[in-house]
C-alpha cells in the first residue's frame, strides 16, 4: 500500500482492521491499525577454492619453502637388525613430522612420489623406500576433521589416497612418525642426501 491509496480504500482497511504492509527498498505505508513497511539488503560472501598441503615444517594456510630431512644414523652393530628410529629431522621431533591437507572443493587426491630408491651414489647399492615406514597419530596442534593417513612409499612411483570431504571441506591432519625398517644389511654409505640420490619425496594435494 502507498500514498496513492484513495480515501475510500483506507476507510475499508480500517474497518476490517487488516494490518497494512508493503515491501521494497525504500517504502512507505499509511493507514490505521498496525502498519509496516520493509526494505531489503542482499548479502554475498564469495569463498574461493583452495587446497593446502603441509609435511613437516610449514605455516598454516601459507607457503613455506623449508624442506626438512629425516636422518637415520645407524650404528655399525645395528645394521640390518630391525626397526630403527630417526636420529634427526622432523618439525616435531626426530622422524616425527606434522602433516596436513586442507581443501574446500570436495574430495582431495593426495599423493607421495619418489624418483627411485635411496641411493648412495654407487650403482646397484640402494635402500628401498619401502623400508621407510610411517605411522599416523592424531596431532592436537593441528585441529582437523579426520586423521591424515600415512603413505606406503613406492620406489620410482606414486602412492595415492583419496581424502573425503564433509560439506565440501577436507581438513585432515596427523603426526607422521617415520621409521627405518632396517631389514637388510646394505653396503656402507650415505643413502639419499642429494636429489640425485633420490632423497626427496614429493607430496601433492589436488582437487578435480
Amino acid at each position: 500500500m502507498n500514498r496513492l491509496i484513495g480515501g475510500a480504500t483506507a476507510l475499508i482497511l480500517a474497518t476490517l482492521a487488516i494490518p497494512v504492509a508493503s515491501h521494497a527498498d525504500s517504502n512507505f505505508t499509511t493507514g490505521t491499525g498496525t502498519i509496516t513497511a520493509s526494505a531489503h539488503l542482499n548479502f554475498t560472501v564469495v569463498i574461493p577454492q583452495f587446497v593446502y598441503a603441509r609435511v613437516s615444517s610449514g605455516t598454516t594456510m601459507a607457503a613455506n619453502g623449508t624442506i626438512d630431512t629425516v636422518t637415520y644414523t645407524v650404528p655399525a652393530a645395528s645394521v640390518g637388525q630391525g626397526a630403527f628410529a630417526a636420529t634427526a629431522g622432523g618439525d616435531i621431533s626426530p622422524g616425527v613430522v606434522s602433516a596436513q591437507v586442507i581443501g574446500n572443493g570436495g574430495t582431495v587426491t593426495f599423493t607421495a612420489t619418489t624418483a627411485g630408491p635411496l641411493s648412495n651414489g654407487v650403482a646397484g647399492q640402494t635402500i628401498s623406500y619401502a623400508q621407510m615406514t610411517s605411522a599416523a597419530t592424531a596431532d592436537a596442534a593441528l585441529p582437523s576433521l579426520a586423521l591424515l593417513p600415512a603413505f606406503t612409499l613406492v620406489d620410482g612411483g606414486t602412492a595415492s589416497q583419496t581424502l573425503g570431504a564433509t560439506a565440501g571441506v577436507t581438513n585432515d591432519s596427523a603426526k607422521w612418525t617415520f621409521t627405518y625398517a632396517n631389514a637388510n644389511i646394505v653396503a656402507a654409505g650415505t643413502y639419499g642426501a642429494t636429489v640425485a640420490n633420490n632423497e626427496q619425496v614429493t607430496y601433492t594435494a589436488s582437487m578435480p
Partner: protein
C-alpha cells in the same frame, strides 16, 4: 536513543517548545549549532497523517528532501516538500575472502554497491558509501499521538550456495554517521531471526550508516553464498 549531553538536552527542549513558539526556537537552535562540536542529533518531523517509511541503501524521495535544517545538530527548520517514494532496487553487501584467509578467523571487511551518501531528511551527507550502507526510517503521527514505531531486521539462518551454508550470524555490523556521536540504529549481529535496531518516537526520523563484517570463523566449501535481510519498520 541519543547521547544525553547537556547540549543535546538543550536541543530537545528547544525543539519541543518550538511547536508553540517557532520564531524564538529557530533563533536559539541556530545559536547552539554554530561552531559547536559534532553531536548527536534528533531529526524531528511535523505531525502529519499516520505514515511510516524505511530505506536501506537505495531509496526514493520525490520533490526534494523532507526538510531543511540548521546547525551541526541538523535542527529542523522547515519542510521542503519532498515526499517518500517506493524504490525497488535492492543493494548488495559483499566480500570475497582471499583464499589464504578462508576460515582463519580473520574478520573480513565487507563492502556494498550502495552509492547513497545523502539523507533525504535534509540532504546531509550522512554516509560514506560503498563501505557504509544508509539505513533510515521514520514515523509520522497526527498531533497528540505518541505511538512508538520499531525498526527491526530479520535474516534467515544461513547464507546458501547450493547445499552449502554459512550461518548469517557470521555477519555483524557497526553503526555510525558523519557528525553523529551516538548511533540511532543499533550495531549488532544477525541471528537467523529478528534483531531490534531502533525505537522511533512519533514524528522522528532515525538514520545511520551500517558497516558490515564477515567473521570468517570456519573453512567452508568454495562457492558464492547469498542471503537477504529484511528491514521492517512497524507502527502498532
Amino acid at each position: 536513543m541519543k547521547t544525553r549531553t547537556m547540549q543535546d538536552h538543550a536541543h530537545i527542549r528547544l525543539v519541543r517548545a518550538g511547536r508553540h513558539r517557532r520564531g524564538v526556537i529557530a533563533m536559539a537552535a541556530a545559536l547552539v549549532g554554530v561552531g559547536g562540536p559534532a553531536e548527536a542529533w534528533i531529526l524531528t518531523m511535523k505531525a502529519a497523517p499516520r505514515e511510516i517509511y524505511v530505506q536501506v541503501g537505495a531509496g526514493t524521495y520525490t520533490g526534494g528532501n523532507y526538510a531543511t535544517s540548521t546547525g551541526s545538530g541538523r535542527t529542523f527548520k522547515k519542510t521542503s516538500g519532498g515526499k517518500p517514494g517506493v524504490n525497488t532496487t535492492i543493494d548488495t553487501v559483499s566480500v570475497t575472502v582471499p583464499a589464504a584467509s578462508v576460515g582463519t578467523g580473520t574478520t573480513q571487511q565487507m563492502t556494498s554497491n550502495s552509492a547513497v551518501a545523502d539523507s533525504f531528511y535534509d540532504g546531509y551527507a550522512t554516509c560514506n558509501p560503498p563501505t557504509e550502507v544508509y539505513v533510515g526510517a521514520w514515523s509520522q503521527e497526527p498531533a497528540g499521538q505518541t505511538g512508538v514505531a520499531t525498526l527491526t531486521v530479520t535474516s534467515p539462518a544461513n547464507l546458501t550456495s547450493g547445499a552449502d551454508t554459512i550461518p548469517f550470524s557470521q555477519i555483524s555490523w557497526t553503526s555510525t554517521a558523519n557528525g553523529d556521536t551516538t548511533a540511532d540504529v543499533a550495531a549488532g549481529t544477525f541471528n537467523g531471526g529478528s534483531v531490534a535496531l531502533a525505537s522511533i518516537a512519533a514524528n522522528t526520523w532515525v538514520e545511520d550508516c551500517l558497516t558490515f563484517t564477515f567473521k570468517n570463523s570456519a573453512i567452508v566449501a568454495a562457492g558464492t553464498y547469498t542471503g537477504q535481510a529484511v528491514y521492517t519498520v512497524s507502527q502498532p
